[in-house]
Amino acid sequence: MRALALAALAACTPDIAQGAYLCGPDMACPDGQTCNGPDGTCVVASAAQPFACDPSVLHEPDDNPGEAFALPALGCPSAPLEVMGCLADGDPANWVSFQTPADCSDTELALSVTYPIAFESLALQLDEPLIAVDGACKQPPASSGNAARCISMMLAAGQTYQLAILPNGDDCAGDCAYNRYTLQVQLTAP
């Protein structure tokens, strides 16, 4: 009984194991913990590693529409195509291109980019000159540690489009001007 009482008295300060939380916006973590770059979890400062882009998901140079990384051919309709990517520190944009099938009379594009909220937020922009910018997604991302932006619109058949993944602020005042993301592209027949 006395032990219980002592335990009750002692348990008034938060006890948070490392890795218990994902990093919040602007790499927010509990006091005494730091955002771990590789997996975006909160760990003790001594165990934290810096953020780094996985070289296998980089397609540089891809900083302008002319250097856009070409996505595989899409069907009509297509299965969702997921492409992993990463905006490194100071990278102005990642451009990708895709082509709508020529045999689709009308094609509806469903684009989304999902990224951890811990680092810089991202935006989508379709084509240059601008056709569309992103908006909120109808479905929230599966993990509450992620954010997502979406574009949904009708596209003409047999056309090539360029899509930019851009930095969109919230970059820890420049200290987290980078992020990794998953781009999902799907063409559907309306």
Partner: protein
């Protein structure tokens, strides 16, 4: 032979038998047995009121400390985790974390103040305890008195102290 009625009179002029007095059997003494009278002191109403006020304040401060303690524990429970939660650390979590820390500090302060007040009350209780008063009477050897009375006699004793 007819028995002679005898009256024994012992008179003691003393406050020994006032309320609260402790009368002890007198020890042996050359001049007679000592009479020891112990009178317990009484705590004044003001003294009791002051000590009760200090103790009450201590209990009140302890109660405030308990409030902050429970608040700190509630906030700490909101964010404490020993397993991966899959949740990001949000401003709301930080607010709860800060509240836990702040209330914990306040609880410690109020517990300390309350404890100090209670200890002060106990110390005051001891320090201001009224002393008992002991009076020792060394009676001189008594003088027997004998006076004839109608139908008998009166036998008594006279002591001085």
């Amino acid at each position: 032979m007819r028995p002679v009625p005898i009256a024994i009179v012992v008179a003691l002029a003393s406050r020994a038998f006032a309320g609260g007095a402790d009368f002890q059997p007198p020890p042996a003494n050359d001049g007679g047995k000592d009479i020891v009278i112990t009178t317990e002191g009484e705590r004044s109403t003001r003294n009791i009121a002051v000590l009760a006020s200090i103790a009450g304040a201590g209990a009140l401060l302890g109660g405030v400390g308990l409030y902050f303690h429970l608040d700190a524990r509630s906030a700490a429970d909101q964010v404490s985790a020993d397993q991966p939660t899959g949740q990001p650390w949000t401003p709301a979590d930080q607010t709860a974390y800060d509240r836990a820390h702040s209330s914990s500090v306040k609880a410690a302060v109020f517990y300390s103040l309350g404890g100090a007040a209670l200890i002060g009350a106990v110390v005051g209780l001891i320090v201001t305890a009224p002393s008992s008063e002991t009076t020792v009477i060394h009676p001189h050897r008594g003088t027997a008195t004998f006076a004839p009375a109608p139908g008998g006699a009166v036998v008594g004793g006279v002591w001085s102290f």
